[in-house]
Symmetry: C2
Subunit: 534 residues, 2 copies
């Protein structure tokens, strides 16, 4: 298996074509066992693709001598920076249909080097794709088209230090290229934590989280990374800027909020002061089986509209609960978790369980351990959660079409939205493949005024047509979201894949303002072309 | 007394030159009594100014017949729209130095009428000053200079309805011109509340709160109106846009966050879907006397860094506590309040009081009444809070220079910042007046990573030179904030008065982006010229 990126922290090898660590991928036998669960898939897994088979040509641009030491052109590095980690990326790699391989990969170590690279790229018509951990699932780190002379993947992971800690204000200045585990490693000795744990935590960076407005650990209140930002440092082709470290401000529109979610189109976030927490001392979690899904929705709404503020509040629909092992009897399962660094949380869990009971729920006994035993619903869900992307890739090797998408909508729309997504996406999948599809739903984050449903689709593909099938299903999904006025993404960004949905959702005056900002900050239009705006 | 604006809800008359209701102003005897508290002030109050003495000329522009019915040119209405309600505005009115009187005041009743007025203004070089309740304290609703042919004050208060309520998602679609009390009146029958209660609540509008990122009722967590916005509708010269109603989204930079805080420079917010709450059923509050101010700061930081989330957490320094009647013995006083619509809050108050005790605090007995008795510190503080702007105007009539300013900074900077502001502002005031100044401090909002100190300055002026004196003091205050990297405003906006501080604080790439957005949305540069950007 071609090894392309060693993880210096773990000494494990990261996969260039699939999720995570290469040694964690299901082997051929496991793939076959997974495929057997989905009628119509292949009988043998697709072979693991080889870098040697990729169409990697000579780089179409050469950096100047002063920048040459930052730039790599070896095929494994270029291959590992060609695409993100969506199902669409994995199946393209498996089918020998990779996206355009970047000409160059740069690993700058300072703001000045980032600025120098941007300047050179602007002068030489080289597209620049900012790259953190490369876990985009929306085509956010891939060049499409041929409007530029060459493509440079700007990998920030050499900028991976916590530079400063202010324990009094519980905050830290952190370089954008810091991967999740390395970030927490550097905070742990200080008793502090960012507690931003997306599913991609091991393989994604602070800068990526900020540029994409990633959703994190907390199911309620401060759900997005945005809320933990005290200050941003951004290098743009038009200059460098750092916002002041402030707990809050009312001085004009928030400068940080323009760059949060800008996905590398306006500038490169190189560092941020982030708000931290003390590590939690009190924890309690429990799972509740809820026989009726629509009553389960009401239970979750009631909890979201209380002031109990659970850290975890994941509702799994019956299919999702079955798949993760949290329930076998057709119930929905609600996973509740509370945590605090200052006060016991048992009474908050008890109050939430009372609400769930009032909606027909049957709680499991609460667990207070960090690692809930695997034979509890909480434990089963947690291990399935971390394993899921690997299983997706195993199913992809069996020719399955397996992907997730997520959204958010106000409570008044939620029941009809979920019903419509389930039915229309299943219909589209059946039409595209001739096979029955599974469409499951869970909630990742909830709010007093709405929820963020997260859907999983799985269906056997037609050999060689998996990309087109997924594109059809995704178009149907985007269409139903649009008709229900549900956002094209709650926390996975827009990238290139969500452009039609995003363009239809974004208010036109904001589109005008964003284009104008882009022209002002990136006058040569080299920053992540095709993402968010043209 | 010239009556210019009748409040239809209360049948009371609002003052055109001073704060609030004309009948709530201190009379001459009360003014004299107030002046006696501040050595060096006048012996008799300045007379109340008369509209007849204002230099109100013929309007320099005439709207087309189709818009004529929306436009008023009578002197009282024009006078009442000439300035905001800062000390600087009041003393200018008292000294016959009013800002430029607008030529026209329009009261549109629909988005289309707003759009038509903007179109006409753009074509005829008429500056448009969006106007809600007119309580700006930063020169936000006043035209300065003479770059435009005429000035139109765009008063939104005819758009004052709650248009739609979604009880399931606890949210409402509300017109931007709705004044605070009218807004709550329309929500009350539904058991819902926005609970945004700035000091200006009676006299300011939803649209004004949104355009200026107003600070509200909650001392912690969701402190600004920004966090309660689900969707905005904005009319710009380049078109109308409405963001989708969403509980959260990760689709690109937040469109709403660009218009929140844009202070009428990018467009006119005409309505918003706002997140509401059920009215609180559980309340508890208490005051704590803290003999040592620096230990009091530590107590507040500990509470802010807990997860107790008080709704009120106001620290009054000894001077402020004395002034409001909350303490007479030189102690600082911490006012704590908790509220919830779902759960009892007594244990949260008890936990916060434990923290305060550990820092040397002596709690008063807790009160659970909404209206704490006036003889408690909580009650004394609350009545002083609402009366304060009226007393400021009374002191202004005695020739005093009395004003507030506020900021926010991270905890590591807070002690040195407060000491520096007290000392440097008092020095500047003494230098400018020859009189000793009072400089008090309180906290209005607190965060895990910092606090928002709010300062009050009072000093006797030199007759006729009060404006220049205040400008000197304000420049000194802005300078010390800048050197300590404390924001020029936490919740009072930038307007025209804060421009130097804001320009020095705003990161340059964001300034470029904001200017570009302005050019795209307001190509004729008629929207609130001079605010935020040139």
């Amino acid at each position: 298996m071609p090894a392309t990126a060693n993880d210096p922290r773990t000494s494990r090898t990261r996969s260039w074509w699939g999720w995570g660590y290469a040694d964690a991928h299901p082997d051929d036998a496991e793939c076959a066992a997974l495929g057997a669960l989905l009628p119509g898939t292949l009988t043998r897994p697709l072979p693991i693709p080889r870098i040697a088979d990729l169409p990697i040509g000579r780089p179409a641009a050469t950096p100047p001598p002063a920048l040459a030491h930052l730039v790599t052109t070896d095929p494994p590095t270029r291959a590992a920076h060609a695409m993100g980690k969506a199902y669409r990326d994995v199946i393209r790699a498996l089918r020998g249909r990779s996206g355009r391989i970047p000409d160059l990969v740069a690993h700058p170590t300072s703001d000045q080097e980032v600025a120098d690279l941007l300047e050179w790229a602007g002068e030489h018509d080289v597209a620049v794709i900012p790259f953190g951990g490369g876990t985009s699932v929306v085509g956010g780190v891939e060049y499409r088209g041929d409007a530029h002379r060459a493509v440079l993947s700007l990998d920030l992971t050499a900028m991976d230090r916590v530079l400063e800690i202010d324990a009094t204000s519980r905050s830290a200045r952190i370089q954008a290229g810091t991967l999740g585990p390395l970030l927490e490693d550097q905070l742990r000795p200080h008793g502090l934590t960012l507690r931003h744990f997306p599913q991609s935590f091991e393989f994604s960076t602070l800068g990526g989280w900020l540029a994409t407005r990633a959703g994190g650990h907390y199911a309620t209140v401060h759900t997005h990374i945005d809320d933990f930002v005290q200050s941003l440092r951004v290098v743009t082709p038009a200059g460098v800027g750092t916002s002041w470290r402030l707990p809050a401000s009312g001085a004009g529109p928030s400068p940080d909020r323009l760059f949060l979610g800008s996905e590398g189109t306006l500038g490169v976030i190189t560092e941020a002061w982030m708000r931290l927490r003390e590590r939690p001392r009190h924890k309690a979690s429990a799972a509740v089986a809820l026989p009726d899904f629509h009553r389960a929705l009401e239970a979750v709404r009631a909890i979201a509209q209380s002031d109990l503020a659970p850290a975890n509040c994941r509702l799994l629909d019956p299919g999702e609960a079955l798949l993760s092992g949290a329930s076998q009897d057709g119930s929905s399962v609600l996973i509740l978790g509370f945590e605090s660094s200052t006060s016991p949380v048992d009474h908050r869990l008890a109050a939430a369980l009372d609400i769930a009971r009032a909606h027909g729920g049957h709680p499991e006994p609460p667990t207070t351990d960090r690692d809930a035993p695997a034979d509890t619903a909480v434990g089963a869900w947690r291990s399935a959660f971390l394993r899921m992307p690997y299983l997706r890739d195993g199913l992809a090797r069996m020719g399955a079409v397996v992907e997730t998408f997520e959204t958010a909508a106000t409570w008044d729309r939620i029941p009809a939205l979920i019903d419509a997504v389930r039915s229309e996406v299943a219909t589209a999948a059946l039409k595209a493949t001739g096979h029955p599809a599974t469409v499951n739903c869970r909630f990742t984050h909830v709010y007093p005024d709405g929820a963020a449903p997260y859907f999983t689709v799985a269906v056997a593909g037609r050999p060689g047509a998996e990309v087109e099938i997924w594109d059809e299903i995704k178009a149907a999904a985007s269409d139903v979201l649009h008709r229900h006025r549900a956002t094209i993404t709650h926390h996975h960004a827009v990238g290139r894949d969500h452009r039609p949905g995003y363009d239809g959702q974004r208010p036109e005056p904001f589109a005008l303002a964003l284009r104008a900002a882009k022209n002002a900050l990136d006058p040569h239009h080299v920053l992540n072309p095709g993402v968010l705006i043209d």
